[in-house]
């Protein structure tokens, strides 16, 4: 499999590079561009990004394996990241997780066979006042209830 940057991604990256004192410093935003384009960061992209940032590929891999926000495998269209840290847990995060487990038949790290949903249990996302909460793709959804979860799954699953 080969990986290519689209024209648009290239333009964004070129602009990003101008913002930093050196190319290497742009590693995180550039990796985000790749992830945005492809949904995750395939191994083939590592040498490519390395070349752009003028570092050896191993340095890129170190970065993307350090941050859980960078994905290295394809996931479902909707990424349900449910917080399981203290506040959410006290307010019933485990029930929310169980509900998703049963409803979609997936556990932590798994994706539905129709590639619609991926469930990830995560640590505190800093939205404790709305516990229990989850992050759905780029958005926070707080004060979760069983109904709310059903609604999310129903709406997104269509």
């Amino acid at each position: 499999m080969s990986f290519e940057l689209t024209k648009e991604s290239k333009l964004v990256i070129d602009e990003l590079l101008t913002r930093y004192p050196n190319k290497r410093a742009a590693a995180l935003p550039v990796l985000h561009v790749v992830q945005k384009q492809h949904g995750y960061i395939p191994a083939e992209a590592e040498p490519l990004v390395a070349e752009i940032l003028e570092v050896p590929p191993v340095k890129i891999r170190e970065v993307l394996m350090f941050y859980t926000l960078f994905l290295q495998k394809e996931i479902g269209k909707n990424h349900l990241q449910v917080c399981r840290s203290v506040s959410c847990w006290l307010r019933g995060a485990d029930r929310i997780i169980k509900q998703i487990n049963e409803k979609l038949g997936i556990h932590d790290g798994e994706t539905t066979s129709d590639k619609q949903f991926t469930l990830t249990e995560v640590e505190c996302l800093g939205d404790c006042e709305h516990a229990p909460m989850m992050q759905l793709n780029d958005d926070y959804i707080g004060d979760l209830t069983a109904e709310k979860v059903d609604e999310i799954i129903g709406k997104k699953g269509q």
Partner: protein, 554 residues
């Protein structure tokens, strides 16, 4: 220049240096894992904590630059407690498999535990399991559980070999040192990462389970792998010989010399000692009887060689000598003196260039794979390959009665046909060398000589640095240093050379050769000596910053 005080000692330190560098220069030992004087500074492991007056927190000595008036305490209660806590963290998931770990005995974890740790483990949880005994290169095995993530090996591959194979992946207690997928650590300098790994995470395949390090003896020497002459330690196991499987040299380790190899040696050099006890090693005197080489003795062969020399001389027949750049300055000097004084030989070639150009780079590895071509040149030998060809041509055309060859495998550099006719053209061929080859197989006599770990002497590296080798093990079988063989011949024919030790030859040599004038074994010392153009001698800097911990007092 800032003046600082470390443990009550007042020091004037160059600006920009860090506390650990100042301490190293003053011989004050501060523990370290990630800091290595040959690599960039990262301040990663925190074991080097020291107390600095007026600074509220403990500071990392490796990363904190000196400032005028700084007062540092390396042994205060707080500093020691800080290090102890760091150590406890580093060992949280450590497997402590010292009984089966090759590093045991030269492990910084063990050393610092004994110095600062001495606590009882508070770990009740299961330890993290990681991969063990993973081959990550031709010579290297990785045990991830033992790794303390100091990144020394990564920085070596980034900064010294510049090959970027290694990285740390994942994070927290899942963080693991590994090669980049699809890569192996097989650069020409790879095994240095084993040397600098402060723990037993990286071990050398060749050394694995071979011996415990405390049975090893260390002898300072010089690598003979190429003309760079990297400074090394020869580690031998004389205490448990029965464990050696017939191999007397256990391993070579680089020895610091700022002016030659700094902290490093190449892999080729590291394993270049194997010829010492190889299957083709020559340990017995041999002579050809009815076309076959047979074992003999010095007592039998020496008179025969002498007779052959004598008769060639008396009949005005030509005697030719082919020296070798593998010989020490002492060997070469004794040979030249004997050959010119007694045998009437004036042309002295030494060089046989291999047919294919050997690997070299712009760091340590040089194309000339001989330790002493430069010395041979200084001593008046002809180091041109063509001179050797001419000598072989002369032999082939029947112009040479007796040929003495040192070490060379002529077929490595010349056409087999030429070699054959040259060796059969001379009536007598005396081969002096440590290992058998296609040339020795055609000799009339084989006189076994010592390898560099079995004798004393000096080599001159490509840059003209004269460096000393020392005897680490006894000569194998009948083998003798080349200069001794020559001296023994000289006692019976012509003018006797009055040498008893290699040093006697060296003394004579310094009196007679400009490039060595004023030198002595004691002046050469551990760092070597270069004769500079202005007639001054320049000593090498072999004083490494505190690398080992044994010297320090806790």
């Amino acid at each position: 220049m800032p003046t600082i005080t470390i443990d009550g000692k007042e020091l004037t330190v160059e600006k920009g240096k860090t506390i650990i560098q100042a301490a190293d220069e003053a011989g004050i030992d501060i523990p370290r894992y990630c800091y290595h004087p040959g690599l960039s500074i990262v301040g990663q492991c925190r074991i080097c904590l020291v107390e600095v007056e007026k600074m509220p927190k403990l500071q990392v000595a490796c990363y904190t630059p000196v400032m005028d008036g700084m007062v540092v305490h390396t042994q205060s209660e707080r500093a020691r407690k800080g290090r102890k806590d760091v150590l406890e963290f580093l060992l949280v998931n450590h497997p402590i498999d010292c009984p089966v770990c090759d590093q045991a005995g030269e492990c910084f974890l063990q050393d610092y535990y004994m110095k600062f740790g001495l606590y009882d483990s508070k770990m009740l949880e299961d330890k993290n399991k990681k991969s063990k005994a993973v081959p990550i290169g031709k010579h290297i095995v990785l045990d991830s559980e033992r790794c303390i993530l100091c990144t020394r090996c990564i920085r070596f591959c980034d900064e010294v070999s510049k090959t970027n194979e290694l990285g740390i992946f994942h994070r927290g207690d899942h963080a693991e040192l590994l090669p980049y997928p699809g890569k192996t650590v097989d650069n020409p300098y790879s095994v240095n990462v084993v040397d600098i790994c402060p723990v037993g995470a990286l071990t050398e395949k060749d050394f694995r389970f071979r011996t415990r390090v405390w049975y090893l003896d260390e002898t300072n020497s010089v690598c003979t792998g190429c003309s760079t002459g990297c400074n090394i330690e020869v580690h031998t196991n004389k205490k448990r010989e029965y464990k050696n499987e017939g191999r007397r040299v256990t391993r070579l380790k680089p020895r610091f010399n700022k002016d030659v190899n700094e902290y490093w040696i190449c892999d080729e050099g590291r394993y270049s000692f194997t010829y010492v006890d190889a299957a083709d090693r020559l340990g017995v005197v041999m002579k050809r009887v009815k076309g076959e080489l047979q074992e003999s003795t010095w007592a039998e062969v020496m008179p025969e060689v002498l007779t052959a020399l004598q008769s060639a001389k008396e009949n005005n027949k030509r005697i030719a000598v082919l020296g070798s750049p593998k010989m020490t300055n002492e060997d070469l000097f004794a040979l030249k003196k004997f050959a010119s004084q007694t045998l009437g030989v004036s042309q002295m070639p030494v060089t046989v260039l291999p047919k294919e150009k050997p690997f070299s780079d712009d760091f340590l590895i040089r194309e000339d794979k001989n330790p002493n071509t430069k010395g041979a040149g200084y001593l008046g030998y002809d180091t041109d390959h063509k001179a050797t060809r001419k000598l072989l041509d002369d032999c082939a055309s029947g112009g040479v009665e007796l040929l003495i060859i040192f070490h060379h495998d002529l077929e490595a550099g010349f056409e087999t046909e030429l070699v054959k006719s040259a060796l059969s053209g001379a009536k007598t061929v005396v081969f002096v060398g440590s290992n058998a080859n296609t040339t020795s197989a055609r000799a009339t006599y084989i006189l076994p000589s010592c390898t560099y770990v079995e004798k004393e002497g000096t080599f001159t590296n490509f840059a003209g640095r004269v460096q000393k080798i020392n005897r680490a093990i006894e000569p194998l079988g009948d083998s003798l240093p080349e200069w001794t063989i020559i001296r023994n011949l000289s006692r019976k024919i012509g003018k006797a050379l009055a040498y008893f030790e290699a040093e006697d030859v060296f003394k004579d040599l310094t009196k007679n050769t400009a490039a060595f004038s004023g030198m002595s074994y004691s002046a050469i010392g551990d760092g070597g000596l270069v004769a500079e153009e202005n007639g001054k001698l320049k000593q090498g800097d072999a004083k490494a910053a505190a690398q080992k911990t044994e010297t320090a007092t806790a």
